[in-house]
């Protein structure tokens, strides 16, 4: 049981770190959004699942409450995060930001 929690925390922290590095290293808005949003959502799933397993394995009413509230927080994060990133991408396209190095823009006559 120790090993499972340590592995889940390790995967979560590693992916959150990759998302933060992607935010610093990528060249424009769309690639930064691609790297940061997906990596931090994936990493947050793993850290929250580790807390949920910890709560259910610890036992007792207080820790079961903690685990169930962590499930609700994870669901809120899973619903809101991709929707927010979609809204950011659409808003940055419509406010006139072009991708770096793009040659054709097939969305131009459709939006």
């Amino acid at each position: 049981m120790h090993i499972v929690l340590y592995v889940l925390f390790g995967i979560g922290v590693a992916f959150n770190g990759l998302g933060a590095i992607a935010l610093l290293r990528f060249p424009d808005v769309y690639t930064r959004l691609h790297g940061a949003t997906k990596c931090t959502t994936f990493g947050s799933i793993f850290t929250a699942v580790a807390v949920i397993i910890y709560g259910f394995a610890r036992g007792g009413a207080q820790y079961h409450t903690l685990a169930i509230h962590a499930i609700i927080a994870l669901l809120a994060l899973l619903i809101t995060n991709p929707t927010g990133s979609h809204a950011i991408a659409r808003a940055s396209y419509r406010s006139g930001i072009k991708p770096v190095g793009a040659v054709v823009d097939k969305l131009e006559d459709r939006s």
């Binding site: 929690l5 925390f9 207080q62 808003a91 940055s92 406010s95």
Partner: protein, 88 residues
Amino acid sequence: MIIDPITFFVVAACLVFFALFSMVRIGLGPTAGDRVVGLDTLNTLVVSAMIVLGAAFDQVVFIDVAIIYALLSFVGTLYIARYLERGL
């Protein structure tokens, strides 16, 4: 005690350190879209760190705050996106 409680604090410290990276991007992002991406990443990392700290201190209230923070930051992100798209 299932695992060492220091583990939770180490994980939360790593998440806060990554939040500093996204604050760097908020500071020097060239366009407004870059700053919004940094803010969105910062919100996700703060929610994740709050869940871990709730398990570290055995406080359910921290996780309740994380739920409300996730929902309110989503509303804030949508409003900033709408502002970038067509003005207030």
